[in-house]
């Protein structure tokens, strides 16, 4: 364990750096109105967005959770985490491209829902959108708190609270543009650490040692980590885990305004597609695979397991970093990665919440509000949300990150069908949309609590929550006379000033 002083230097040092950057960005690029603040004026080019998308999708779970998956499932753990978490982006990309085409001046996904389904359904989606932000940002705080506590012996609550408040302050100050600039810097730091650390770890431990260790894990029933599928990429348990990861991630992507904000901030639809595909497939995808294998399978190959070297398998990544680089440098490098992964994801969430409250919520309660008043409200609400999240993160000390993730899949998967079908199928009515959400939520929770085996409960609970709403929507809509005219959305004019050239879309 490294000294506490080093941990405090990281926390306080980077607080100054990132908040300082947000001041510099807000001075260099002063906000020209609500649209400029919440979606950076819709003028960010693809490379910057790509870096921002890549690093905001690297959660603390992407490193620590994928590593844990590697300890549970062997070589397939990281790979299954990867495809499961990446799959929702391949629903999100065409969805947001289509949204930008049919409703060019849309800023938040709740604006679309309001125009498509009406105020009641929009309110439901607003609540889910905020719930996703609270959940995602809280989980980052929890992850960073665990890391700083185990690496530097800093009180858990300090490691959880300070990063969340740093992010809240810089988003409040500089909006989405500040978030994106900070993301780019953190993209470079995290990638460079990964690119330097991985070959050193593999050389130090030795691929021969890892392979021999995994052979023992797969074949020796007395091995504490015994798993006959440790060296199999077609592990059934791993595949089920990947499917759960896909369902869990579906709601987290489709209901996270931060990703919509970044998609809308991109200069054009072509840049959007390039940025998201490159950011996800080329940039993000290898991170969980490497985390699962370099950290996770290395741990079990070395004969270390829960209660035998580590107190929890969540500690796989920090343990390997400490072992290879020594307590001081190893702890520092790992803490930097986890800290930045958490901050960028938290920033994405809070920027999205800022957009939802500024564009959607505030105008509903004060329709006559000026853009200046909206901006002032948006800056203050982010600080409040940050404070709430910090308190919740402190209260969640000791709870497993992966277990939080899997249960949330049931809650956030349920509304995705009505959003997806609402965007693509004119026959989906508001009533059917609401019924489908209720059915998905109820069906998923009932299934989860009725099945005794925990693994099957999670798997089938998540599956029902995701799929049942599609079935409800199909049978509720196919014979209905209801039809929505999507052409109405083309001429949608938001309350705030939005400058776009429609031909570009």
């Amino acid at each position: 364990m490294a000294s506490s002083a080093l941990g405090y230097v990281v926390l306080i040092g980077f607080a100054f750096v990132f908040i300082g950057i947000s001041f510099a960005v807000s001075k260099k690029f002063p906000s020209e109105g609500v649209d400029d603040f919440v979606v950076a004026g819709r003028g960010i080019p693809f490379g910057i967005i790509s870096a921002s998308v890549m690093i905001s999708w690297v959660w603390t779970t992407t490193i620590m959770g994928a590593a844990e998956a590697g300890t549970w499932y062997g070589v397939s753990g990281g790979f299954n985490y990867m495809w499961g978490a990446a799959l929702p982006f391949f629903f999100f990309i065409p969805l947001v491209l289509h949204l930008r085409k049919i409703m060019p001046k849309c800023t938040t996904f709740t604006e679309f829902i309001r125009e498509r389904f009406g105020k009641t359904v929009s309110t439901i989606f607003f609540v889910f959108g905020i719930a996703v932000v609270l959940y995602v940002v809280t989980e980052q705080g929890v992850g960073i708190g665990i890391v700083f506590n185990s690496m530097f012996h800093i009180p858990y609550w300090v490691g959880a609270v300070i990063p969340i408040m740093i992010v809240a302050l810089y988003i409040s100050r500089a909006g989405l543009r500040g978030s994106i600039f900070n993301d780019v810097i953190q993209f470079f730091i995290v990638c460079i650490i990964f690119i330097i650390a991985v070959p050193i770890i593999l050389k130090t431990i030795g691929l021969d040692t890892i392979y021999d260790g995994l052979m023992d894990v797969a074949n020796n029933k007395n091995n504490p980590n015994y798993n006959p599928e440790a060296l199999s990429m077609t592990s059934v348990a791993g595949l089920k885990y990947g499917l759960i990861a896909a369902i869990v991630a579906m709601g987290q992507v489709l209901l996270d305004q931060g990703y919509y904000s970044k998609a809308i901030a991109t200069t054009s639809r072509k840049d959007l597609m390039k940025a998201y595909i490159i950011g996800t497939v080329l940039g993000w995808a290898p991170v969980p695979i490497l985390s699962g294998n370099v950290f996770g399978t290395s741990l079990i190959a070395l004969g270390i397991g829960e209660g035998n070297g580590v107190s929890s398998l969540s500690e796989a990544a920090p343990y390997i970093m400490d072992m290879v680089f020594g307590t001081g440098i190893g702890s520092l490098l790992f803490a930097l990665m986890a800290f930045m992964a958490g901050m960028t994801t938290g920033g994405n969430g809070l920027a999205g919440a800022q957009a939802l409250f500024t564009v959607d919520f505030y105008k509903r309660i004060r329709p006559q509000a000026t853009e200046r008043e909206q901006l002032s409200f948006g800056k203050k609400i982010v600080i409040l949300i940050g404070a709430v999240v910090a308190v919740v993160a402190v209260l969640l000390e000791g709870v497993s990150l992966l277990k939080i993730d899997i249960f949330s899949g049931i809650l956030f998967a349920a509304p995705t069908a009505s959003f997806f079908c609402g965007l693509l199928w004119k026959k989906t009515s508001p009533k059917v949309a609401v019924i489908s959400m209720v059915a998905g939520l109820a069906g998923g929770l009932i299934t989860f609590f009725m099945i005794e085996d925990q693994n099957n409960a999670q798997f089938f609970g998540n599956l029902v929550a995701l799929v049942l709403p599609y079935i409800v929507i199909f049978f509720g809509s196919v014979f209905s006379k209801y039809e929505f005219d999507f052409n109405k959305l083309k001429n949608y004019e938001p309350a705030q000033k939005v400058n776009i050239t429609l031909e570009e879309e």
Binding site: K28, P45, V75, F194, P199, L207, A218, S232, V287, L290
Partner: protein, 40 residues
Amino acid sequence: MMSETALKIFYWACYGWICVGFLTIAIPALKEIYNMFRKR
């Protein structure tokens, strides 16, 4: 069950993947940041 050679190829291919991904994003991002600051 994966052979030792397959495991080694898998690990290094993933490493190559992250290097390519990093460069594909980093080079355009740096150019764009430079242009943004030069324009303003």
